[in-house]
């Protein structure tokens, strides 16, 4: 938790009739932070963002922005601006008029206004597009106009609702970097909604993972990826193999778990408070599993299997390994180092899997 919260969301809920779109959420966001709200469709991200913008009033709870309670503050008085999920470009205005829309109250002279708008157009690399009609823009251009229109107001907080959703992969990656650089240079607090975990990982300082109106975990990208505390987060961010298991013993600084499909798993005991007899879920990232051909004797943190399927992805390969007596395969990711992945996908079918103690994650079953 940052010590100084610029935005405080305190135990906020939003109910639409029987639907609890947002359910008892508390988040603190620091000034200048790039904060992502991540979660599957319908989990309440947009609703939470709309409460920050002032379009919806919380059913319960309170939101503070810059130490001001917002309950009686209409959207047009809040120091926040929003980039809408569908961009909401005014169809009756051209690009210039759209971008200049929010500047009316500043009563700028014609030349000052021109300067501000042209500066914004340069920022989004749409110089010379000022007279274009709103309906003559591509999806990516509309998104950038929406961004410029919000940024030109120089808000304290910029809210972005899946702003990169409509872009193709290349442009999206480019815009991710640009947005991140922009955010660093202008120093505005960004609250960014996305359902794309990769996007959240690349861009954010911190991420709140949401599910069905709840915030499950808040943490840094590394923290959430490497040390998730819930099965949902472990599964939602990245890919993960899960094995049900039971703790056999806790001794010598190790926890030994008997898990289905992979046999004995040993984990350093320091990080966990599980005891013998507890049921646990063993989680293992595909990229942390090493695979080699053959059938050596098994020790802890090892398994045997046969390759059943392989998906060649260019920079890496996903290989599905079937263990004896189980339908569900184990997913192994292999870097395509010197063509290793392409030869592996055609290689020996009987393989041994191995991983380190540090790679294993124990989770509480839900």
């Amino acid at each position: 938790m940052p010590d100084e919260a610029f935005i405080s969301i305190l135990d906020v809920s939003k109910h639409f009739g029987p639907v609890k779109a947002v359910d008892r959420v508390s988040i603190n966001i620091a000034q200048g932070e790039f904060f992502a709200l991540l979660g599957p469709s319908g989990c309440g991200k947009t609703t939470l963002l709309r409460m920050l913008a002032g379009f919806e009033a919380p059913t319960l709870g309170e939101i503070y922005i810059d130490d001001q309670p917002t309950a009686s503050m209409p959207p047009y008085q809040r120091p926040v601006n929003m980039v809408f999920q569908n961009y909401a470009i005014f169809p009756h205005l051209n690009v210039y008029q759209n971008i200049a829309f929010g500047l009316r109250k500043e009563k700028l002279s014609r030349s000052d206004l021109d300067a501000r708008v042209n500066e914004a157009l340069a920022l989004i690399k749409l110089e010379g597009y000022g007279t274009r009609g709103a309906n003559e823009l591509s999806g990516g251009q509309r998104q950038r106009v929406a961004l410029a229109r919000a940024l030109i107001k120089r808000p304290k907080v910029l809210l972005l609702d899946e702003p990169l959703g409509a872009l193709d992969k290349k442009l999206r990656e480019q815009m991710q970097i640009e947005l991140r650089q922009l955010q660093k240079s202008v120093g505005i607090t960004f609250v960014f909604v996305t359902h794309d975990q990769e996007e959240a990982l690349t861009m954010s300082d911190r991420i709140a993972v949401m599910s069905e109106g709840h915030v499950l975990e808040i943490g840094s990208p590394e923290g959430l990826y490497e040390r998730p505390r819930t099965r949902f987060v472990a599964d939602f961010i990245g890919t993960m193999n899960f094995f049900e298991g039971r703790v056999r013993a806790r001794e010598g600084g190790k926890i030994a778990v008997d898990a289905e499909r992979v046999g004995e798993v040993q984990v350093p005991a320091d990080d966990y408070d599980f005891n013998a007899g507890d049921t646990v879920v063993v989680a293992l990232r595909p990229e942390n599993i090493r695979m080699r051909p053959g059938r050596p004797d098994l020790t802890a943190n090892m398994a045997h299997g046969t390759m059943s399927n392989a998906a060649y992805l260019g920079d890496r390969a996903h290989i599905y390994v079937q263990t004896e007596g189980s339908e569900q395969p184990i997913l192994v990711a292999m870097q395509n180092l010197d063509g290793a992945a392409s030869s592996a996908t055609h290689g020996e079918r009987s393989v041994a899997l191995q991983w380190s103690e540090q790679a294993v994650l124990l989770l509480r079953p839900e």
Partner: protein, 310 residues
């Protein structure tokens, strides 16, 4: 499409029968399909609109002599029209009254349409049907109803007298322009509400959110976003009310008195009691042209206003 063309080229000149030829022409020419689609309407339009207008213009160039038409072509009727003060005066006043009716109707219809589009959550259809309810009775009945309401001993006057608010019945509310405007505004209400409602309903709500987000309060959001985006509906409503009102002669006759006379009354009497058809035709042609002109001025004005606001 491409295959079709290739096929045709291969087959050379002898086409595969008439049907095949027609089919191919259809596929190739977009305009042919479009015209085929509108042809029934187009034929009706030519027979029922263009032809009568032609007849009307022709008739207006003849003159009436006794019971017969004098068939020499002349502009005499038009000279009469502009020579006598009464005709241009009544036409000008008809346009003024119609503009007033259109303005009043749209002004009254807009809030109602706005309310249904933005504030009614459920049963919008019921509201819309309720609005068209008065139209289920005949037009004449509605005009007579207003006569009863506004009349010397009508609902308004007797009500106010009973309440002791007035001593004498108010005379200015019937048989004048006010009565015509009130009656027509009521008669046209649904025609104005529906197009405005449709254009408001179409507005993406996130645009209004966006305007609020960019710092505009309710009033400026309305002026800068909602109103411009509903303009097509407002224009349609204005024209739908204005154009037929210019030609109306029933309402002015029943509730308009002498000061409420409109151009439709003059045309009617020329074709009726006056028995001067060519003159009637000339008045009709002129009033048609004037309405067209007024509509053009209106549309031009709207365009200018849009530029000014943006």
């Amino acid at each position: 499409m491409k295959e079709q063309t290739l096929h045709a080229a291969e087959a050379g000149s002898p086409p595969g029968g008439l049907r095949e030829g027609v089919r191919r022409a259809f596929l190739r020419h977009e305009w042919l399909r479009a015209y085929t689609l509108v042809s029934p309407t187009l034929i009706l339009l030519i027979v029922a609109m263009a032809a009568p207008i032609g007849v009307l213009v022709g008739l207006s160039l003849w003159t009436q002599s006794g019971m017969e038409f004098d068939r020499t072509l002349t502009l005499a009727n038009y000279e009469t029209f502009f020579g006598k003060k009464i005709y241009p005066l009544v036409l000008w006043r008809s346009i003024q009254i119609s503009a007033l009716v259109a303005f009043a109707t749209v002004l009254l219809a807009y809030p109602l349409a706005y309310f249904i589009a933005f504030h009614v959550q459920r049963h919008k259809m019921v509201w819309l049907i309720l609005i068209t309810l008065p139209f289920w009775t005949s037009y004449l009945l509605r005009v007579f109803a207003w006569k009863l309401i506004l009349g010397y001993n009508g609902v308004v006057n007797s009500g106010l007298t009973t309440l002791g608010l007035i001593e004498q019945p108010l005379e200015f509310i019937l048989y004048n322009v006010t009565a015509v405007v009130i009656t027509l505004a009521h008669a046209w209400a649904a025609f104005a509400i529906l197009p405005i409602y449709v254009s408001l309903e179409k507005i993406d709500r996130s645009l209004i959110d966006a305007a609020h987000d960019l710092g505009e309060g309710p009033v400026m959001t309305f002026l800068r976003v909602t109103l411009p985006l509903s303009m097509p509906g407002v224009i349609a409503a204005t024209l739908l009310v204005f154009i037929p009102t210019v030609g109306d002669y029933v309402t002015p006759k029943l509730v308009g008195g002498t000061t409420g006379i409109m151009i439709g009354n003059l045309i009617q009497s020329a074709f009726g009691r006056g028995a001067n058809w060519p003159m009637g035709a000339a008045i009709a042609v002129i009033s048609m042209l004037m309405v067209t002109l007024a509509v053009c001025v209106f549309l031009g004005g709207v365009k200018g206003l849009k530029k000014l606001l943006a």
